[in-house]
Symmetry: C2
Subunit: 224 residues, 2 copies
């Protein structure tokens, strides 16, 4: 009858997995850290079974890598790997933008426009400070991704790639140019409003590809 009094502790392993994701994306568990089962088991006060399941789940998200009989470590993103992630994002979010142009409702478009106005006001007020870094940028992209109505696309981008991006941002400061990003967002929005999927995809790909090329520039000096 009343199943709501326990405040929805879905399942232990799920809860631990979420906590681990937060700890990793927040930088609390830095890149390359060992995920020791006994230690975390003691720290969180749970058995090793649910913990292992949580780690398995993180492995599925690509946040940790496991070697048999050796254990799990938080994945270390080299710039090369980050560049690879951006290539996937470029392909996937480009497709998402194309589909969103077909499938987003007028109401969703209105809310997206409002979001952009908020961003514009904030940037003007704060003289181009990098507010977008935190959540604003993700908000914009998130709405378009969900607007694609493609569940698999949504899952790949929001449940897997986004966490990796978040992690990298915490571990290595990333600077963006808010005004430039905002303008690109506005162009993408215009294409969506015009229901021009082809243009929306092209603009989104350029928007993301921009960041990818910036990363790629710094690869040669660092590695090899």
């Amino acid at each position: 009858m009343d199943t709501s009094s326990p405040p929805r502790m879905e399942t232990l392993s799920q809860g631990i997995a979420d906590k681990l994701v937060r700890d990793i994306t927040s930088g609390d568990l830095p890149q390359g850290s060992k995920i020791s089962e006994p230690e975390l088991s003691r720290r969180y006060g749970i058995g090793r079974g649910p913990l292992r399941e949580a780690i398995l789940r993180l492995e599925g998200m690509g946040l940790v890598i496991r070697a048999p009989h050796v254990g799990a470590r938080v994945v270390t993103l080299t710039r090369t790997e980050l560049s690879e992630i951006f290539a996937v994002r470029e392909a996937l979010e480009g497709m998402a933008a194309r589909l969103a142009a077909e499938n987003m409702t007028d109401q969703e478009l209105g809310e997206l426009e409002q979001l952009l106005e908020t961003h514009a006001a904030y940037i003007e007020e704060h003289q181009g400070q990098a507010y977008i870094d935190q959540n604003g940028d993700y908000d914009f992209h998130y709405r378009i991704i969900t607007g694609s109505r493609n569940q698999r696309l949504i899952r790949s981008l929001c449940d897997e790639l986004y966490h990796l991006m978040q992690m990298y941002r915490k571990n290595s400061g990333s600077r963006t140019r808010p005004e430039q990003a905002l303008f690109e967002h506005q162009m993408i929005f215009k294409a969506l409003k015009d229901r021009d999927g082809e243009l929306a995809e092209m603009l989104m790909r350029r928007h993301i590809g921009q960041a990818r090329r910036e990363i790629k520039q710094f690869i040669e000096p660092e590695q090899q």
Copy 2:
């Protein structure tokens, strides 16, 4: 003493996961089947722990869905979901083709050309029989995907989406037109050989989008 008679049983859960993948993609475990832990535990003669880990892994691949306290079932692909998968494939393999045009070695291109000649000979000999259905088509796509040199792309496509496609094919007969597919493959190969990434991507997307549109045609009569 003798640990070599089981030929490289890396870890139990890994082995069980592979076996389950085979059983699902081969159609032995059809869509929607219940994955009962006690039953499979007895059938395979292992404890429930490794089995659960294997199921977790399959969930990460998207082959099964789990409901808390209810259990796991083999995922049932509706045509809508299959269409969604093709949209993701279109985006991802398009990008793979673009990158492959930049990164494949001349030797790899030579082997790919040989593969196409084999296909052509087979089709001519067997009067357009659907040999490509089995492995030939995948061979071609697989080589291009790995030619992208993007590990994340490779993993998404080969470890996740491919299994789902395989499963669907087993459960519902899919007819292809081998000659048409071969010609499209040859065009894509030409673009790769010319190192024309943009054209390769476009052709690959059309090649896959073709199948997507065919599926989409059959959605309305079936659902809604």
